[in-house]
Amino acid sequence: MEIKVLGPGCPKCKQAEQVVREAVAESGAAATVEKVTDVMAMAKLGVFSTPAVVVDGKVKCAGKVPKKEEVKGWLGK
C-alpha cells in the first residue's frame, strides 16, 4: 500500500504525517508513507486543501488532520 501525506510543511501537515505513521506502525500494515511538499504534485493529485492523505492514488481526506482510527480504517485494519 502506498500512502502519501500532502502538505507544504505547516504544523498541521506535520501532525497529519505523524498520525499516519503511528497508525501504520500500530496496525502493522505493509505500507509506505511518503511526504509530498510540492504544490504542483499536490495539484496533479487533485488536492487543493492541505493537509491531505492519499492512499493508493485515492484522496481519503483533505483540509484536516485525520484521526488515527480513520487512518486505520483506510488501511483495512
Binding site: G9, G46, S49, G63
Partner: protein, 371 residues
Amino acid sequence: MKAQASQNTVEDGRNQNAHDDRESVRKGAWPPAARLSAGLLLPAAWWLLYTNLLPLSLFLTGALSGVAGFDPEGHFGKSLGFFIFETPKILLLLVLVVFGVGIVRSFFTPERTRAVLAGKSESAGNVLAALLGTVTPFCSCSAVPLFLGFVTTGVPLGVTFSFLISAPMVNEVAVVLLFGLFGWKVAAIYAGTGLCIAIAAGWVIGRLKMEKHLEDWVLELPPGGPDSGEERMGWAERVRYGQDAVRDIVGKVWPYVALGIAVGAGIHGYVPENFMASFMGKSAWWSVPLAVLIGVPMYSNAAGIIPIVQALLGKGAALGTVLAFMMAVIALSLPEMIILRKVLKPRLIGVFAGVVATGILIVGYTFNLLF
C-alpha cells in the same frame, strides 16, 4: 464456587463500566450533567475575571511595588501595571472570540466556499469572496493549493484574489487585539476598510484580465477535484472544533501577545510624549508610504505588532499611518509572495502587491485626514 463466579462477573461488569467511562472521557464525550455545568461555569468564571481585572491588576501592582520597593506611579510601576492589566485582558478576549469564531468556522469548509464562489459573477463574487475569506478555515500555508483549487473550478481570478487578501488581513486575532487595545471603533474601521481593500483590489485585478499571467502548468490542470466527502457535524463536535481552535491559535500567539504588550508597556512608561509625532504624525506626508515600505518585508505576527503600535499611537503617531503599517505587515508579506511565485508570473505578483499597497495607502491617508 458459584458465588465466586458471579462475584467475578460483577467485578468484570464494574471494570467494563469503568473502562467505558474512561473511554468516553478520553474521547471528550462528557456526561450531559458535566457538560451542562462546564457550559455554565466557564462563561461565569470568564465574566467574573474579565470584569474584575482592573482592581485585580492594581492590587497586584501595588503588592509588587511594596515587596520590590518601587514607586507604583513611577516609570517602572506604570509599565508593569499596564502589562499586568493588558496581557490577561487580551488573552481572555482572544479565548472567547477564537472559540466563537471556531464554532462559526465549523460551518464552513474550503470546498463549500469554493462551490459557492464558482457560480458567481465578478462584482457580487468579490464581495462574497472577501466575506467568506474571514470565516473559511484554512491553514496559512494552504494558500497556494487553495488558490489553485479556486482557479481550476472556475472561480474568476479577481474573486480568488479578494478571498486571498481578506483571509489573512481580517482575522480574529488582529480584530480582538485592536478591540482590546484601541476600542471597538478602530477594530470596526480596520475590519471594514480591510474588506473594502480586498473587494476593490480583487475587482481591479479581475478587470485587468491577468489570467495569462498564471504559470502555464496551472492553466493545464484538470478542473478542480471533487468534494472531499463532507461530514455532518453535531454540536458537541462543533464545540470541540472551537476548543481545538483555541488550543491551536491562542496556544500559538500568546507569547507574541505577551512580548508585544511588554514592549508596548516599556514604550508607555519610558518614551516621552509626542516622541513619534515628528515622524509618524499627521503632518509628515511621507509617513504613510514609509510605513507601508517598512511593513512589507516584516512578517510579524499581528499579535506581536499591534500592542507596540498602540503604544506608538499614544506617543503621537497618526491613526492612518498606524493602520497602514499594520495592514502592510499582515496582508503583504515577502514569504507569501515567494510561495505565490510558484503559480503566478512576476507581473501578476507585481500587480497584486501594487494594487493592495495602493489600497492601503488610500486608507492611511483617508484616516489621517478624517481624524
